[in-house]
């Protein structure tokens, strides 16, 4: 990437960055591989088109929100409202299309703006009154869900085929949502690790007071991050609506915990200041493979939840050991 004159210090750095990056992703890929092998042994039919479709369908929406959630956790916030914001944007989209018969593109734009607005409100409120984002977004979780039911009168809105085209179009064998998700992950990682905004995010999550005293206003950074996650939740809403060709007022129920779990499995810290978008992507994949695998081997729903819980905790413990290992070789050294 940076080829121009990376002299003395430069070369050494890129090399170590590569090495640590390799180590970083390796543990997650290993967990994924282990899951696939275990499910494959228990149930050979796990390697079927059905499983693959299940994963491919479930994943894009969650990945897109996980990118935003990574940002939020990095600035040491949390967003509990993503599921509801998704539901609300989907409901708006469905209603606009069926009741007001707007063309597809303006309708999608409206839905996305609505999601971004919800996020903006989260950000503004928590920054203006210095409230923990936990509380503010908990409020938004209820508000947006309530609004969803108001808009849809608690009924599923059937839209029909025209919106389905988004999810069913394939380019080079990949569905549009999958392509979108991959693009967002790539852009998300670049913004995080290569831009001023990304650096400010990490700094705000590390020591907000020091950011302020460095002459940088941390507030726009925080508001920006909450707006981004609202916007991404709405993008996910469009994908979900397109896949189902309908807006379900309960869409996205409980999604927030699933996303947070995936991001944390990816090694992003709840304490802020550290995280990676690409690792969150792997986190989502792990949870999706686990879900699909458990269905394939036919376990009951309660068992599925139990096992999922165990895997989440186990993955985080594994990450602890990975970090210790990384520290020994790359050189941290806090006792």
């Amino acid at each position: 990437m940076n080829t121009d004159g990376g002299k003395t210090a430069g070369d050494k750095r890129y090399k170590t960055a590569w090495q640590t990056t390799g180590l970083e992703y390796l543990s997650l890929i290993a967990v994924m591989a282990a899951l696939v092998v275990v499910f494959g042994i228990i149930e050979p039919r796990f390697f079927s088109k059905a499983t693959f479709l299940q994963v491919a369908n479930d994943v894009p929406a969650v990945v897109i929100i996980a990118v935003g959630m990574t940002y939020v956790l990095i600035i040491s916030g949390i967003d509990l409202s993503v599921g509801s914001v998704l539901g609300f944007s989907a409901a708006l989209l469905g209603t606009i299309l069926t009741r007001y018969h707007l063309p597809l593109l303006p309708a999608i734009l409206c839905a996305i703006l609505a999601g971004a607005l919800c996020g903006l409100i989260n950000g503004l409120v928590s920054v203006r009154w210095q409230l923990p984002s936990f509380i503010v977004t908990l409020g938004m979780l209820e508000i947006a869900r309530g609004a969803t039911h108001m808009v849809t009168q608690s009924r599923t809105v059937y839209i029909g085929g025209k919106i389905g085209a988004i999810a069913s179009t394939h380019i080079l064998g990949l569905s549009v949502p999958a392509i979108l998700a991959i693009l967002i992950v790539i852009i998300g990682q670049i913004v995080l690790s290569k831009t001023v905004f990304g650096r400010y995010m990490v700094a705000v999550g590390t020591n907000e007071e020091a950011v302020r005293l460095s002459g940088v206003d941390p507030r726009p950074v925080k508001i920006g991050v909450f707006t981004i996650i609202g916007l991404l939740s709405a993008v996910a809403a469009v994908i979900e609506t397109s896949r189902l060709e309908a807006s379900d007022p309960n869409a996205g129920n409980g999604l927030e915990l699933q996303v947070i779990a995936a991001v944390v499995i990816g090694g992003t810290s709840l304490m802020g200041g550290k995280g990676s978008v690409v690792r969150s992507f792997f986190g989502v994949l792990i949870i999706a493979i686990l879900g699909a695998g458990l269905i394939a081997i036919g376990v009951r729903d309660e068992t599925k939840r139990l096992i999922t819980g165990v895997v989440i905790v186990a993955a985080v413990i594994l990450d602890y050991y990975r970090r210790r290992l990384g520290r020994k070789s790359a050189g941290f050294g806090k006792e």
Partner: protein, 508 residues
């Protein structure tokens, strides 16, 4: 190696080695302390002093080597285990919990109880006595710690360590943020402890202190033992030579061409801290601020910088006659004012982030394309340059700042603000924890900045430092500006008198 051990050492370290990735923090170091002696540990930033102290206090474990305490093997695995053996330590960095009270912090691990409940009455009374012995009458045990300055927090750490019964007391740069008055109180306590045959390990970069109170001196350099000698047998030049391996240049006296007014502060008032303070700062000069702990110097600077709200007063910049509205540090920096805060850990640094990110944080746009995409190689070059200029001892500029020694962390904070290239630079305790060699380099740097026409304020608890580098010295006492001296007009006594003025007035 160690000459004339008349009394049997209380604590003995043999061949202690501690390695961190890429650095040998300590290499085969021998060290001992006797009962009732003060053994000073000196050396440059990153020489391994704090590491040695942390090993004795059980915070860090050595890779190899053994320790004998009272003649028995001693290998503490935690700080509390060391405490139980009778080893107390004041760490170099502040470790108080800011939303607990002073008393809670002092008695953190041994809160007095009645039945199962904490007895706040007992605890506050005990804390009060404990603070009294250090002359801290104006600190309320019930007060939350976050409102206190760095010097006061340091005193609380010391009070906490002194309140334990210990055989060994380790003081890692206890006076770096203290003014003369607090230092005297501390020294009085040290004399008491020595009489009770406590062995004291004392780290400091202030040579005049070492000369005054040390019984023996050990010098470390680059993690290696260089020399141990009774304090009476060596002079300071010898010690400095052992420390830095060369002679230090005489500080040169700058010929000042005072420029136009850069900053004019009129009747600045911050409730309960700063009372109608007015002063002028010119381009091309260093204005020193002297005063006792809690005299309102830090509060004044924070108010000028917009970090805290001021209640009254105006600030005029660059000779303009309309007052500036500075509501946040961002406003201040945009107008060319920088403030290096006294508390590097909480307010200055991003400890888990790299040296590179820390230095460029104040002006990231300037190392970015289109003010958006950071050019990491340029950033690395900038950081590399600063690490060289200030001789920051580090593996490379990618090392996280939290891994650096205290003095080297301070150099990173200085680099961060000079890189921002502001016209008015306010430095609050800039050389806190910096060794004498590097201190001269920083004075040189300040000189160069002044020659370029920058206006600089230095707040310092070290009177010698202020007298060495300032063109003028303003003295604050209890929130008021009580005197201003020009170079050549001041004496230490006159400054001290001005610093005490309001306190004496208040007592009458």
């Amino acid at each position: 190696m160690v000459e004339s051990i008349t009394p049997l050492p209380l604590l003995e370290l043999r061949n202690i080695t501690r390695e961190y990735p890429g650095v040998m923090a300590l290499h085969n170091v021998n060290f001992n302390v006797c009962a009732g002696e003060l053994h000073a540990l000196v050396g440059e930033n990153g020489a391994g002093k704090s590491t040695l102290c942390r090993i004795i206090a059980g915070v860090t474990r050595p890779n190899s080597g053994d320790m004998l305490f009272h003649g028995k093997p001693y290998a503490p695995s935690s700080r509390s285990e060391a405490r139980n053996h009778g080893v107390a330590m004041v760490m170099q960095e502040l470790n108080l919990i800011s939303n607990l009270t002073v008393a809670e912090n002092i008695f953190m691990d041994r809160m007095p109880t009645r039945g199962t409940l904490i007895s706040y009455r007992d605890m506050n009374a005990a804390a009060h006595t404990c603070l009294q012995t250090l002359g801290l009458n104006d600190i309320n045990p019930d007060q939350k710690v976050w409102a206190l300055g760095v010097g006061q927090q340091q005193m609380i750490e010391i009070a906490s360590a002194l309140s334990r019964h210990c055989d060994i007391l380790i003081l890692d740069e206890p006076t770096a943020a203290l003014t003369q008055r607090e230092t005297e109180h501390l020294f009085a306590q040290i004399t008491e402890l020595k009489k009770k045959s406590v062995g004291i390990i004392y780290v400091s970069h202030r040579m005049e202190e070492i000369k005054r109170i040390a019984d023996r001196i050990t010098v470390l350099r680059d993690g290696e033992w260089v020399a141990t000698s009774p304090a009476a047998d060596v002079d300071m030049d010898q010690i400095i030579h052992w420390m830095v391996g060369r002679q230090l240049p005489e500080p040169c006296v700058r010929k000042t061409e005072k420029g136009t007014v850069a900053l004019r502060v009129v009747n600045l008032t911050v409730e309960q801290a700063v009372n109608r303070v007015s002063f002028e700062l010119h381009h091309g000069e260093i204005l020193g601020f002297a005063g006792l702990m809690g005299s309102g110097r830090t509060e004044t600077m924070r108010a000028v910088f917009g970090a805290d709200r001021s209640d009254a007063g105006e600030i005029y910049l660059y000779g303009s006659s309309t007052p500036e509205q500075i509501r946040s540090p961002r406003d201040a920096v945009r107008r060319g004012i920088a403030l290096l805060t006294e508390d590097r850990k909480q307010q200055g640094l991003f400890l888990p982030m790299s040296i590179r990110s820390n230095i460029t944080m104040t002006r990231l746009q300037s190392v970015s394309t289109a003010r958006t995409f950071i050019r990491e190689n340029i950033e690395a070059e900038v950081a590399h340059q600063w690490c060289e200029n200030l001789s920051v001892r580090c593996r490379d500029e990618e090392q996280t700042v939290g891994e650096l020694s205290g003095g080297n962390q301070q150099k990173v904070v200085i680099a961060k603000w000079i890189f921002r290239d502001c016209d008015i630079l306010i430095f609050d305790e800039p050389t806190r924890g910096i060794d004498i060699g590097a201190r001269y380099e920083i004075y040189q740097l300040l000189d160069n900045l002044v020659k370029k026409g920058k206006a600089i304020i230095v707040v310092s608890s070290d009177m010698q430092e202020l007298m060495a580098i300032s063109d003028r010295i303003a003295v604050m006492s209890d929130g008021c500006l009580t005197a201003e001296f020009r170079r050549g007009e001041w004496t230490q006594e006159a400054i001290m008198e001005a610093a005490l003025k309001e306190l004496i007035n208040r007592e009458h």
